[in-house]
Amino acid sequence: MVKLRVNGQEQSFDGDPSMPLLWYLRDELGLTGTKYGCGAALCGACTVHIDGEAARACITAVSDVGGRSVITIEGLDPQGNHPVQKAWRALNVPQCGYCQAGQIMQAAALLASNKNPSEDEINSAMSGNICRCGCYQRITAAIKAAATGA
């Protein structure tokens, strides 16, 4: 039995403890905002926060998050108005939108630890998140906007 917190709620899971957090969130809890993209921590689509830090849910076993707190895109802000989410909308970042939850979670973790990141710091923090539509320039702009409250 693994006990953890997901978006502030206590959860317990008595299934396969080696199940990646990604599939636990999606298939067991119905939190489908966290996306599958590669299953190997190569694309960032499954990015969530574990105890406040960005992590790839696809390579994190449920057993590894026992006693820890997981925040997903659904729990980033109760109204969906985290500064990063607002900036994303203000700058019309998404195209297909599939990778965006992962991008937003990665960006939110960056800003939580670095209130005013440089372009190099943004590139460094975000380079693990692939966007096949190619929204990168707007992602950079949105992170800057969220940082400055613009």
């Binding site: 299934g15 396969d16 199940m19 990646p20 599939w23 636990y24 999606r26 298939d27 119905g30 939190l31 489908t32 905002g33 966290t34 996306k35 599958y36 993209g37 590669c38 299953g39 190997a40 190569l42 694309c43 689509a45 997903t72 895109i73 659904e74 980033l76 969906g80 989410q85 994303w88 909308r89 203000a90 700058l91 019309n92 998404p94 195209q95 297909c96 939108g97 599939y98 990778c99 965006q100 939850a101 937003i104 372009e119 943004i122 590139n123 460094s124 975000m126 380079s127 693990g128 692939i130 966007c131 096949r132 539509c133 190619g134 929204c135 990168y136 320039q137 707007r138 950079t140 702009a141």
Partner: protein, 761 residues
């Protein structure tokens, strides 16, 4: 809302799915026969497509008593914005307040909604007119209903911002008050529908409407194909044959069945090549969750009979394509006498280019859910082709189309992959074999790369002759590539008319002696449409070669390009030319428009400006899906061969720019995808199997290497200039512009994609 660093250039200054429509309160959605053959100011090829065109507001618009306007989006949304832009065209003509508009996605039903095949950059191009007519017709019905209510002449009333106003008295009625009466009226005949003047547009051409899914995307609520959750849902993954045409020889599922959560093993019968949209077959593991299915598949022991394509080897195949390109091929365009002119030229230049297979690698791999029970099938799928998916499901299951429902989710990328519904058929077969439980099929990234419908692989060879003054007097282009048709018919041998019409036989240059040929090539894997299709290899070769000619003639590459485009005339292509299925009268090959985007991109990029050492600019132009795109790329190549792209300027002429904001985003994205394919894009085969597995072996451009800014310059056009493609045309010019810039920076000419380590020193 404007995108960053993107502008409508003023050239004159300088040159769900939970029950759809017809639910409670929607009073307009009555049973009416769709009005086909909508009036069009200009002709398009839309009517020739399956389902043709429907523009009846009774099909597309519902207004409830509160005034909420529901508009049906009948095309799939994969990121281009069509799910927003087409309803926006309806809303504009309807004079609706966008904040009181709700967009719902239609299921697959081409009889009812018209063509839904969302590819070929056709959504705005084919449907801006019908959707405008649809909105205008509804507006006129509301006006008629108001005039009847007030017992006044309809000429005295006018729709304005979600209300009908009686002009003489100032009385007003909201759309909700008139919905029932308006909905009971017949649709006005096409010739009585009055479209707005351009000056009256609220949304069209403005870029002031945000995509309808923006909030849901940023909060994780948006529903993609992989996100479908249903009571009793089963999850499946499939072990598929690694070689095209391969068959299951034997398997042992004993260990797989011992994995907790695994419920059933199902053998899916494959269809031998050409397999069209059919599943390639394999062994499916059906489980209580995705993880159990994946573990179950890992535990399977499967042996394949690989069949005749087991020796497919990309290195050997490349040599074969190139060998073919060195011999005379089948002539597909011939003007003057290119052979003679080449033999008599003062100087001849020859170059060979190679462009490998490319995977779609949509961020959301193919995924679908289906439930087949009681003689009916309901599917939920990320599909570009809801209509085709419905008919394919009906055929496969032996059902009538009306017993098949295809619900269309958002697509996490499409790029042509999700035009082929093999994965939806897999889900349906598995549901049928699982007693009618809903089954979700998930493709892993490895599945996606190993069993894609790949972009073709091609060898392009161009020879040109220059006269003593450095003018191009002869051009012979041979293209050798396996055709997409090989996925549909046995052994078609040559590139087909639709493929050679993508930048080969429509080469726009004014050259007296011009010959295009194609060579035989056999397909050894499933070939399919990939964003911009054959334009990629053809444009890469032609636009790289222009810069090579400029070098040979000691000319500026942009000047050379302008000279080759010649006088501002329309190109008369050969009879085989298909023009993307649309009439040449509406969408000519216009050299003046090609030239204009070249000049615009060059001007904005400050072409020829002084650059730091090891920096260079490159330019390329291409007409693709009826739009004109020129790109100037600036690169910097460091001493070790490290490549960066500090700036991109792209000019696009896509006719009337219906939703500029989404045009900017498509072009910005095309630069990133263009960089990906140029730098890394390759799927290669060894022993018939794909060598790449995931985003490690197959790389795409990431944020730290992508252009920090792509400046997008949209040529302004009035509503009278037919809207043309946007989703695809941005891609083809990028790679040649990039490689031309690399040459300018380093003197190294890249003729083989991807660039890979070719710049390493």
């Amino acid at each position: 809302m404007r995108a960053l660093n993107a502008n409508l250039e003023n050239v004159s200054r300088r040159g769900f799915l939970k029950g759809l429509l017809a639910t409670g309160g929607l009073v307009v959605a009555a049973e009416f026969v769709p009005a086909r053959g909508a009036l069009a100011a200009y002709a398009t090829g839309a009517a020739k497509m399956t389902g043709g065109v429907v523009s009846d507001p009774h099909v597309f618009i519902a207004i409830d008593p509160s005034g909420l306007v529901t508009i049906v989006a009948h095309r799939a949304e994969m990121g281009t914005g069509s799910r927003t832009s087409l309803p926006m065209a309806v809303a504009d003509e309807l004079e609706a307040d966008w904040s009181r508009v709700k967009v719902v996605q239609s299921p697959g039903d081409e009889q009812k909604y018209g063509n839904q095949n969302t590819d070929g950059s056709r959504s705005m191009r084919h449907f801006i007119q019908p959707m405008r007519q649809c909105g205008a017709a509804m507006r006129q019905m509301l006006e008629t209903a108001a005039a009847q209510r007030w017992n006044v002449n309809v000429a005295e009333v006018q729709a304005q911002n979600h209300e009908i106003i009686h002009k003489p008295s100032g009385r007003k009625l909201g759309y909700g008050d008139l919905a029932a009466a308006a909905g009971a009226l017949p649709t006005p005949p096409a010739d009585q529908i009055k479209l707005k003047d351009e000056a009256q547009f609220r949304y069209l051409g403005k870029g002031n409407v945000q995509i309808v899914d923006l909030f849901d995307i940023t909060t994780g609520r948006a529903v993609y194909g992989i996100d479908i959750e249903l009571p009793g849902l089963k999850y499946a993954v499939i072990a598929r044959p690694p070689v095209m045409g391969g068959k299951l020889a034997s398997y042992d599922a004993a260990a797989a069945m011992k994995v907790p959560g695994v419920e059933k093993i199902v053998v899916i019968e494959g269809t031998p090549p050409p397999s069209k949209f059919q599943p390639v077959g394999g062994v499916a593991v059906v489980a209580r969750n995705t993880w159990a299915a994946l573990k179950g598949r890992d535990a399977l022991i499967v042996h394949w009979d690989d069949g005749p394509h087991a020796s497919y080897d990309s290195a050997a195949y490349r040599a074969q394509l190139e060998e073919t390109s060195r011999k005379p091929g089948k002539v597909v365009r011939n003007e003057g006498d290119a052979d003679k002119a080449l033999s008599e030229a003062a100087k001849t230049i020859t170059a060979e280019y190679y462009i490998p297979h490319l995977p779609h690698a949509t961020m959301e791999p193919p995924s679908a859910t289906a439930r087949v029970a009681n003689g009916k099938c309901e599917a939920w799928a990320a599909t570009q082709s809801p209509g085709t998916t419905r008919t394919e499901l009906a055929d496969k299951l032996g059902l009538k189309p009306e017993d098949v429902t295809v619900n269309v989710t958002l697509l996490g990328g499409g790029f042509g992959r999700k035009s082929k519904p093999d994965y939806v058929l897999e889900a349906a077969l598995l549901s049928r074999e699982t007693g009618g439980a809903p089954v979700k099929v998930v493709w892993t990234r490895e599945d996606d790369l190993h069993n894609d419908y790949l972009h073709t692989v091609s060898a392009e060879r161009i020879e040109a002759g220059l006269d003593a003054q450095g003018r191009v007097v002869a051009w012979r282009h041979r293209s050798v590539a396996p055709t997409i048709r090989a996925t549909f018919v046995p052994d078609p041998k040559f590139e087909q008319p639709g493929e050679i019409s993508q930048g080969l036989i429509d080469v726009p240059f004014a050259i007296a002696n011009l010959r295009c040929e194609v060579g035989e090539a056999e397909a050894h894997t499933r070939i399919g449409w990939f964003r911009s299709v054959s334009n990629i290899p053809h444009a890469f070769a032609v636009q790289s070669f222009v810069a090579e000619l400029a070098r040979a003639a000691q000319r500026d590459p942009k000047d050379m390009l302008i000279e080759l485009l010649g006088p501002a005339r329309k190109v008369q292509p050969p009879a085989e030319y298909t023009n993307y299925g649309d009439p040449l009268e509406t969408y000519p090959i216009d050299r003046a428009r090609l030239r204009r985007v070249v000049e615009l991109a060059a001007d904005k990029a400050e072409w020829g400006k002084k650059l730091p050492p090891r920096h260079g600019q490159g330019i390329a132009v291409h007409r693709c899906f009826l739009s004109y795109v020129a790109t100037v790329v600036e690169v910097a190549v460091d001493e070790k061969g490290g490549l960066s792209v500090p700036r991109v300027d792209t000019a696009i002429d896509c006719g009337f720019a219906a939703n500029p904001e989404r045009i900017y985003s498509q072009i910005e994205g095309a630069a990133v995808m263009g960089l990906s394919l140029a730098k890394y894009g390759e799927i290669s085969f060894k022993n018939g199997r794909v060598e790449q597995n995931n985003f490690d072996g197959f790389q795409v451009a990431r944020i730290d290497e992508s252009p920090p800014i792509t400046h997008v310059w949209v040529v302004p056009n009035s509503i009278d200039v037919p809207s043309s493609g946007v989703g695809e045309p941005g891609l083809p010019p990028f790679a040649p512009a990039l490689c031309n810039a690399i040459f300018a920076a380093t003197g190294r000419r890249i003729r083989r994609l991807p660039i890979g380590d070719q710049l390493a020193t």
